[in-house]
C-alpha cells in the first residue's frame, strides 16, 4: 500500500469527520516532520506551513514530557484543535461554537480505527507503533530499503546480517565436529538456524527505533552512546554474546555511524525508549533531540 492510498483514506476520514462535526472549517493531518498527508487543498498556504513548522518544533520539545497529545487554542474568532493520533497530528480549525468534546470523541475513534485498518491491510509498510506518546517519523521513511541503497545503508545491512552469515558458513563444520560439541551448543545452533530459515527475518533482526536524547559535557566521549541496560541484555542474549559493545545507528535521512554502547547513566531515563547520543555525534548525524533513529547491535568480533 502506498502513501497515496493512505492519504486518500485519511482525507476521506477527515471528510466524514467534517460531515459529523459541522464546526470544522479546515482540517488536515500532518506527520512529525511537517509533511501533510491528507487534508483540504485550500488549508495549506504559507502561513499554515509556518504554523506547521512551529507545531513540529513544539512536538519535538514536548518529547521531554512524554510527547504532545492535544493542543487547543481558543481565540476570539474560533479555535484550533490539534490531536496526536498514532504519531500523526490531526489539525482542525473550528468555529467558536464547535462542539469540542464531541469532536474529540469522533476524532479519537475514527482516525485510529482507519490507521489500524490500513496497517492491517499492509503490515510491511505499516506505520510503526509510536514509542510511548512520542512523535513518529512518517511511514515513507520506514519503508523497506530502496532498490538502489546508498553505500552506507548497505554497510549497515551487512553488519546486522553477520550473525546469520556466520551461521550459514559454519553450518557444514558442525557436521564434522558435531560429536565434540556440547548439547547446549547444538541447541543454540538449532535456534539460530530456525531464525535464519524464518520467513520473517526482519523481525528476528535485533534492531529497534529509539528516541534521540542529546547529552554533552567535558568528559563525554563522542563515540559512545547510552542505551537501556534491558535492551543491551536482550540483544546480547539474542545474539548469544557476552555483551554488546557497539551499535550501528541509522537516521531516517540515511546517515549511519557506529558507536560504542553503554548503559544509560541516568536511571531516570531508563525504560523510556531513549538513546542518549553525544552532541557532537548528533551534529554529525544531523539529529535533533526527539527524533527517531534505528539502532542495531554489532556482533562483536572474536
Amino acid at each position: 500500500m502506498n502513501e497515496e492510498i493512505y492519504a486518500i483514506a485519511l482525507k476521506n476520514a477527515l471528510g466524514e469527520i467534517k460531515n459529523v462535526c459541522p464546526g470544522i472549517k479546515k482540517a488536515f493531518i500532518l506527520m512529525d516532520d511537517g509533511t501533510i498527508v491528507a487534508g483540504d487543498e485550500q488549508a495549506v498556504d504559507p502561513s499554515v506551513e509556518r504554523a506547521v513548522n512551529s507545531l513540529q518544533s513544539l512536538a519535538e520539545k514536548a518529547v521531554s514530557v512524554d510527547g504532545l497529545n492535544d493542543l487547543l487554542i481558543d481565540g476570539d474568532k474560533g479555535k484550533v484543535y490539534v490531536s496526536q493520533v498514532n504519531g500523526m497530528y490531526a489539525v482542525m480549525s473550528l468555529s467558536k461554537s464547535a462542539d469540542l468534546p464531541f469532536l474529540r470523541t469522533v476524532t479519537g475513534i475514527t482516525l485510529p480505527t482507519i490507521l489500524k485498518v490500513l496497517n492491517n491491510l499492509s503490515p510491511e509498510t505499516a506505520l510503526p507503533t509510536p514509542l510511548k506518546s512520542a512523535p513518529i517519523v512518517p511511514h515513507i521513511q520506514f519503508r523497506p530499503a530502496p532498490s538502489v541503497p546508498s553505500v552506507k545503508e548497505e554497510e549497515v545491512e551487512e553488519t546486522v546480517e553477520k550473525p546469520e552469515e556466520t551461521e550459514e558458513i559454519e553450518a557444514p563444520e558442525p557436521l564434522e565436529a558435531r560429536e565434540a560439541e556440547t548439547e547446549a551448543e547444538t541447541e543454540a545452533e538449532a535456534e539460530a538456524e530456525v531464525a535464519v530459515e524464518s520467513p520473517e527475518p526482519a523481525i528476528d533482526l535485533p534492531s529497534r527505533q529509539f528516541i534521540v536524547d542529546k547529552f554533552g559535557g567535558f568528559m563525554v566521549r563522542a563515540d559512545t552512546v547510552q542505551l537501556d541496560s534491558e535492551i543491551l541484555e536482550r540483544w546480547s542474549s539474542l545474539l548469544n554474546v557476552k555483551e554488546i559493545r557497539e551499535v550501528d545507528i541509522e537516521t531516517f535521512i540515511g546517515k549511519t555511524t557506529r558507536c560504542k554502547a553503554k548503559v544509560i547513566s541516568d536511571q531516570k531515563l531508563e525504560g523510556r525508549g531513549l538513546i542518549r547520543i553525544p552532541e557532537k555525534t548528533c551534529e554529525a548525524l544531523e539529529l535533533k533531540r526527539g527524533e527517531l533513529v534505528r539502532v542495531k547491535p554489532v556482533m562483536p568480533e572474536e
Binding site: 507545531l55 514536548a62 493542543l71 481558543d74 481565540g75
Partner: protein, 130 residues
Amino acid sequence: MPKKKFPQVETAEQIEWAPKTEVKEQVADLRSVLDKVKTREGVIGYILRASTSAAVDIKDPSKIIDYAVLSASALESAESLSEAFELGRLSNIVVETKDLKILLLTIGEHRISVFMEKNVDHYSIYKELR
C-alpha cells in the same frame, strides 16, 4: 479653547505615569492569584513572564527548563496557528501531554503558564486568573 486643551494635557500626563503603577499592581495581583492557584490539588506550578522579568514557581526544580521551553514553544506555536487560521485575539491555550496539562494565557504584557496534572479543571483556573 482653554477648556479643550486642559483635558488633553492631563490625559498625556496620565499616560506617562499611570501604566507603571498599573503594571506593578497587576503583577502583584497576578502573583497572589497564581500563588493561590498553586495551592490547588494537582497544580504543579506556574511561570509568569513579563517583557523583562519572569517569576517561576514549579514544585520539581529539575523540570523548570523543560517546562519553560515547552510553554514558550507552545505560545509561539499557538500564535502561528492563530495567524494561519485567523483566530483573532487569543483567549487561552491548553497543551496536554501524557501526564501533564498546561494552561497558557496572556494578560496585558504578562504571559502566564500554569502546569497541572491532567485531571485538574483548567477552566476554573482560567476563570480565576481572568
